[in-house]
Symmetry: C2
Subunit: 409 residues, 2 copies
Amino acid sequence: MGFAGLWDSLLPVGRDRETGGYRRYSFTEADLACRAWFGEAAAQRGMRAGGDRNGNLWAWWDVPDGPAAEPGSAVVTGSHFDSVPDGGAYDGPLGIVSAFAAIDQLRARGFAPARPVGVAAFCEEEGGRFGLACLGSRLLTGAVEPAAARELRDGDGVTLAAAMAGAGLDPAGLGADDGLLAGIGAFVELHIEQGSALHGLGAPVGIAGGIWPHGRWRLDFAGRADHAGTTRLADRRDPMLPYAATVLEARRAASAHGGLATFGKVAAEPGAANAISSSVRAWLDARAPGQGILDRMVSQIEAAARRAADAEGVRVSMRRESFTPPVEFDAALRDRLAAALAAQGIRAPVLATGAGHDAGVLAARLPAAMLFVRNPSGVSHSPAEHAEPADCAAGVAALAAVLAELAGR
Amino acid sequence: MGFAGLWDSLLPVGRDRETGGYRRYSFTEADLACRAWFGEAAAQRGMRAGGDRNGNLWAWWDVPDGPAAEPGSAVVTGSHFDSVPDGGAYDGPLGIVSAFAAIDQLRARGFAPARPVGVAAFCEEEGGRFGLACLGSRLLTGAVEPAAARELRDGDGVTLAAAMAGAGLDPAGLGADDGLLAGIGAFVELHIEQGSALHGLGAPVGIAGGIWPHGRWRLDFAGRADHAGTTRLADRRDPMLPYAATVLEARRAASAHGGLATFGKVAAEPGAANAISSSVRAWLDARAPGQGILDRMVSQIEAAARRAADAEGVRVSMRRESFTPPVEFDAALRDRLAAALAAQGIRAPVLATGAGHDAGVLAARLPAAMLFVRNPSGVSHSPAEHAEPADCAAGVAALAAVLAELAGR
């Protein structure tokens, strides 16, 4: 089956009829349908498939003899099925569908791998249900404590342990799987670009340089509830004002430092139209090309928040809720990818990205790399996310070339 | 019973133990307890009490002979029991408790009224349950359609009709009550000041000059959902930015025009910390000393919202959701109040207010006036709302003087 058939068979799963966006949350009915699709795709190809201790799925194109038995010999590709609320079709699934399609291409041209080739589907990459991004790969590499993970709760208060058990998986086994990791020599994740850099460069595929350090900060502006119709401006302690000033300063700081800063979540209390807020709580998402730059950018935003709060008699506290240090992908692996693509006449510019990925988590334990596929509008985490069929085909061809290079004799 | 005993007996009703704020929502258990308290206060004073067609309560100090039978002879005072979420103890109840306490004072000194004296408790003044402020007085005066009112819903989807029926009241009778209104010659509402003007003037009581025109506008900023970690600043259409600019401009405009402007309610969609918002919806509360000033102020805010939205590729729409024209209280009645207070040595400055009141609604149909009691912090719609006992006593004395003037021979 070609890419299009595989792609179309997965497309309806978990799509909301009204918004056209995807709601593929881990261990829900939509997710179980994706997992069944994975098992079927593996079976159709005669690949050995199953889950690991952490709810991630693996399908293997085994090699009977030779270096298969050697530690660190396997070449793995893959991505994730799960989506953000009303996310697009490509973020995640494109990497899994392209993996099977690339294997089909290799087999069609008679390629015989010298090392095992695996396809992986990591769970809860978006953190869309349990709030912790890259949960499946973090558990696999030991970057998160199994006991803490089991107690993570979704918006309805359901724990990860209960959700896994409900999906027929055993949460007791969660945790680092060094044996599994030891067998892998390289991991390559193909992903839709979540920006429009490739569009600007006129290239259908690119190679990841690294992942920017990024984090999330919670800001609490505490003012004083008052009547909006009677409290003189001079008597107010309105937390909405320093919040607004901080939003604008965050954009200025991001622009000045060449980074990204976003306020996408805000809650005002008591939240009545005729009441001055007692408090405004908001979350800053900040990312930058380097640790020092990010530190300076966030410091500038925090200083502005304090100045603006002081001017209005408002107290502000700022707390880092999550943080991911910079990831520099393995340079030797990146060079092999670039050379393999160049040999096929594929120009693949190297791009840094502000988004976290399972490949970034795995990079702490083994050589990892990423391929990006052009996203003409740059829109992601939205039903409008799109890649042209020709670019998806270019992505599959590039991935096949990379697998041939890494798993060949 | 003096003011303090009456006040203390009402104080625990509907108070939340954790916040110390009041949750006296219309037709709930707390409200029914307030209504029972009203009936008991009337009975203790031998006053004839009952509800009208619209759920408002009335207690009458009747006059057996004389001008009692004449249309427009009664003098009514009162306010409301209901609160905003976690409101203070004084906003509303102070006017009802002070009414009974003033009657006690008049009786204690042997005052014999020449006209009936009424105490009224209007329902749903805050709109805290059904969203329409001054609902009881608006129904009474015919300013709101009974059929539309019956269909108003609270946050749980319960209609006003169902809530009234559940409280043992008949919603079928809702509507203008011209007979009741025709009997009233003057209405005087005593209310805690919801600002600190009297504190600044060093006066325990004041007289209302008028109510500023005020309204509520909904602003919808429509942008484009995108990934916060990968979308270049130049590619964003982030509605949070023009929202923030509008918040700051609203404060500047209010300051420049001598009015008030507040954003106390805001909702961002999808509301994820790592997503650029697809939309930000927010509500502007704006009030000013005159219609022309308010118009200019709101126009300035709207123009700024459009400019800021255009600069970010965001669409904005602005719609007026509610509006109350300016109220100028009856000048002759105000002068009589001022003279009566001056005769008692009570200095009572005249203040305009930005808040709506039942007295403002009734002013459209009969001579109405208001007395304000000093609020040292100016805080209102908050558990911290407060008036000193000595100032409450001054309010009762002023109200007694006013009732003696209006209901005397």
